[in-house]
Symmetry: D2
Subunit: 146 residues, 4 copies
Amino acid sequence: MTVPTLTEPTDPAILLERIRQINTLAAFNRWAGISVMHATEGEVAIELPWKSELGQYSGFLHAGLIGALIDTVCGFAAATVAGRVLASHFSVNCLAPAVGERFTARGRVTRAGKRQIFTTAELFAHQGAEQKLVANGETLLMRAVE
Amino acid sequence: MTVPTLTEPTDPAILLERIRQINTLAAFNRWAGISVMHATEGEVAIELPWKSELGQYSGFLHAGLIGALIDTVCGFAAATVAGRVLASHFSVNCLAPAVGERFTARGRVTRAGKRQIFTTAELFAHQGAEQKLVANGETLLMRAVE
Amino acid sequence: MTVPTLTEPTDPAILLERIRQINTLAAFNRWAGISVMHATEGEVAIELPWKSELGQYSGFLHAGLIGALIDTVCGFAAATVAGRVLASHFSVNCLAPAVGERFTARGRVTRAGKRQIFTTAELFAHQGAEQKLVANGETLLMRAVE
Amino acid sequence: MTVPTLTEPTDPAILLERIRQINTLAAFNRWAGISVMHATEGEVAIELPWKSELGQYSGFLHAGLIGALIDTVCGFAAATVAGRVLASHFSVNCLAPAVGERFTARGRVTRAGKRQIFTTAELFAHQGAEQKLVANGETLLMRAVE
């Protein structure tokens, strides 16, 4: 993913606010209903309530949405440390059927280099008070060149 | 992805018709506007016209949609040889900005084993008569156990 | 990787001994000098002292060895919970130059399903008392069918 | 992998000679017995004769060697178009047991960008006149910064 510049984020409240602004800039994120729950330096959490348009053949969350959540939360985590970034590569493991009334994804930066940011993420399905790990994945991003 | 059973597909017209039926069963595919252009044993092509709800921050195709197209076309290609399948792992390389008036993805089976199906796909952006490779990727699927 | 059967491992000392036996069965592991440091259910650690034949162009650990360590430790971790397994897919992130007097890899099972085992691993370079994360990766394995 | 600089390769014979020089610089490649068969702009082929030290538990080619061949041939293919490169990420699909009297890997550049080079490779096992696809994979490399 591509995200606008974040310059010198220090105040946690400002950082969260900026990631939320970035999220609302993406038309697909607005349509899907993705919201940002948490953002600190190198770690972000997002949430997506279930709706039927998000489903595949069996009515589970579509793999495209699983990928979208993992790529999005990884990109946000990278943005908290590196500002504008672009995804080069991402991968997803489908660990269990993605069924739930809402989904949360947590992403974090594994390593932030001069040019590349390595990130990883986990996706959970929630049903009432129950939480289940349904996917994990990773995204390799490049710092954008101005 | 998970797709319903295809049993002994032989007639090409029937095979294409079945993959089209599977496609219409997925609510997300209907919302996004994915259609099936081509389906033979081991090879499928799909198409997605651009609309603004599919975009990310810069107005390019969202990485989630790039992943959705690659996973979908790989799953369809696997379904032409293996019937009901489930994706275990998929990965995407973002080769160039995904900008265009429509997108096409071509997937094919690399190897169909007794339990696993390996597939690969390419995603093209189209603008008028021009076509550009913007992403590639792969999906590893399991044959569904009845 | 492919490993021989482990049946109902319960005693930790027996489990460690069995993983060590598997390790010595692999000619390449013996040549490279890989040893098993730790093995509990779902988690294994291995070690490799540096020698010049393990190097690439710059004298760092060759990517093939980085992959070998990650695939090996993931396979051992899977073997502690699933007995005989075969790798389907593995991937490696090269986070930093792999330079050190010895290397350790830690692998663990993320999810053990009926047919598939998902694992993840980290590779550290050691120089004296210093330890540095130089790579991470993952392996998707199938339970072997008897 | 990391490879030394190639500057403006034009003459095919010189290009092949340069890739062969790079190959002999890697101690592990010399130990394993990897040789370069073919090198043109964006495409390289390498060969590895079987010997027992290359084996895993069942006497098949060790996954580390499968990864080494794929990463090496991808790095060489990238070097023909981009000079000095460093691998960021590589992945391998194990399609069939890697058994044979020799192995060949063919790598090619999918896209060479300003900073990143995307490559893909296939690995074949040979027994007499028979050839079998046993693995495929990909490597994402960065152009080295001087």
